[in-house]
C-alpha cells in the first residue's frame, strides 16, 4: 500500500516536471491535457502523431468557438 502511494507520488512529480518543461517550451499545454497525452504515449501511441492530432484539435476547437460566438451574436440581433 505504502509502496503504491510512493509510486503514485513519484509519477505525479514526473508529470509536474514535464509540465514545467512544456511551459518553458511554450507548448500551451495544461496539466490535465499533458497527463492524458503521457498516458496515451505510455500505451504505445506515437508522440509525433499525437502532437499532430493536438495541433489539429486546437484548430477545430477555435473554429467551433468562433462559430458558437457568431451564432450567439446572430441570436442577439
Amino acid at each position: 500500500m505504502a509502496d503504491r502511494t510512493e509510486k503514485q507520488q513519484a509519477a505525479q512529480q514526473a508529470v509536474d516536471i514535464l509540465h514545467e518543461i512544456s511551459t518553458i517550451l511554450n507548448c500551451h499545454l495544461d496539466r490535465r491535457t499533458l497527463s492524458i497525452c503521457i498516458s496515451m504515449i505510455e500505451n504505445g501511441v506515437n508522440p509525433e502523431a499525437l502532437a499532430a492530432v493536438v495541433t489539429e484539435l486546437r484548430k477545430e476547437g477555435q473554429q467551433q468557438q468562433h462559430e458558437s460566438a457568431a451564432a450567439a451574436a446572430r441570436r442577439q440581433r
Binding site: A10, Q13, A14, I17, L18, E20, I21, S22, T23, I24, L25, N26, C27, H28, L29, D30, R32, T33, I36, C37, I38, S39, M40, I41, E42, N43, V45, N46, P47, E48, A49, L50, A51, A52, V53, V54, T55, E56, L57, R58, E60, G61, Q64, Q65
Partner: protein, 112 residues
Amino acid sequence: MAYQAELAAQCDELVTAVTNIPENHKHRNIYREFVLRSLREHSFLRTNQFEVADRLKGLEERFRVVGRDALADAFRQRLDALEPHWNHTSPDVLHFILELADQPAQKSKLTD
C-alpha cells in the same frame, strides 16, 4: 480489445481537454473518430532518443545564445530533476513536448 477501449476513452478525454466541445455536441463523434484514425494510421517513425537529446541540448544552447540565461538555467534544472524519474517512455514524452514547442526562445516567459 481492452487496449482499443482504453485508447478510445483516452481519445474522448483528449477531445474534451483540447477543444472544450461538450459531450453531447453533434460533431463530437467525428472528432473522436478522427483522433483514433490519426493515431492508428500514421507514417511517423519511432522516436530516436539520441535525436531528442540533441534537440534538448540545442534548445538550451539557443536560449543562452539569445541571452536568455535564466530560461536556459530553468530548463536545465527541470531536465536534471527529470533524471531520477527517467523510464523507457521519457524520450517519447519529451519528443511530444518538443513537437508542440512554440518559439520558446522568443515567446517563453519565466513568470509562467
